[in-house]
């Protein structure tokens, strides 16, 4: 499954200590496991249950998602710019597969 997340940083270049805002959107059904199909069978749960953001290899923010997160999950958060490097966003599916997206921050 090649899902490409949409990631946006409010600035590509930042001064050391600046707060950078990250907005990310990824396509996913986030099937809650509560719904039933037309035959009355429960549709099995399939969600992205974990989200992690690292900057230059260091974790700055993460989240555990429950089925109460809406389909095509949107996440917005901030981090403090310390050093230049890749901003890597990873979502982990119930089935163990991962969706990964990357941006770069330049710290001056």
């Amino acid at each position: 499954m090649s899902v490409k997340p949409r990631i946006k940083l409010d600035k590509k270049e930042a001064k050391k200590g600046d707060i950078v805002e990250v907005k990310a959107l990824v396509s996913h059904v986030m099937e809650s496991g509560q719904r039933k199909d037309s035959a009355g069978n429960t549709i099995p749960r399939k969600i992205l249950n974990r989200f992690i953001c690292t900057v230059n290899g260091k974790e700055v923010f993460s989240a555990d998602f429950e089925p109460a997160i809406a389909a095509n999950p949107y996440i917005q958060f901030k981090f403090r710019a310390e050093e230049s490097g890749p901003v890597v966003l990873t979502w982990i599916d119930d089935d163990g597969s991962r969706i990964v997206g990357q941006e770069t921050i330049k710290v001056t």
Binding site: I19, V20, S32, Q34, R35, K36, V55, K58, E59, V60, F61, S62, A63, D64, F65, E66, P67, A68, I69, A70, A71, P73, Y74, I75, Q76, F77, K78, F79, R80, E82
Partner: protein
């Protein structure tokens, strides 16, 4: 037989209506309770969180419970000495109370996050923030939901 049955039904319906009128609010709240309280207790280790410092931003009325924007912000300097470590969000009227847990660190800079959540019905959304010194703060907000968001 038929008349008795009908009368019973009518009586039951009448009693139900009176009951609903008398206890409507309280019984609905009782029904709406899921394991939210236990989940919060588990998160705080039995401590009662103090109201304040947490800002929970949700619409008063959500027309579509399938996607409700939610922002949680916690007042904190976010320094290694004093910062927010985790924020638990639960909804007390969903089939399952858990919504999301955010994990912050001093590198987060600001303890603030936004996502979109599902709400099955009108209910309270509760956020509990855990500080690195072991204290807990909380905020809650009642959201009126017009169309539920958990499917049939």
């Amino acid at each position: 037989m038929i008349t008795i049955f009908n009368r019973r039904q009518a009586l039951a319906a009448a009693a139900g209506t009176v009951g609903a009128l008398l206890f409507g609010v309280s019984s609905r709240q009782a029904l709406a309770k899921n394991d939210a309280e236990e989940v919060i207790k588990k998160f705080t280790g039995g401590k009662t969180p103090t109201p304040g410092r947490v800002k929970l931003d949700l619409p008063e009325i959500a027309e579509n419970g399938n996607t409700v924007p939610m922002t949680v912000a916690v007042e904190s300097p976010m320094t290694p000495q004093s910062h927010v470590t985790d924020v638990l969000v639960v909804a007390d009227g969903n089939p399952r109370s858990g919504v999301v847990t955010f994990h912050f660190s001093p590198a987060s800079g600001v303890a603030e996050a936004n996502t979109r959540i599902r709400l099955a019905a009108t209910q309270n959304v509760i956020a509990v923030a855990k500080m690195n010194d072991g204290s807990f703060f909380t905020a809650s907000k009642l959201v009126k939901v017009t169309i539920g968001g958990c499917g049939g």
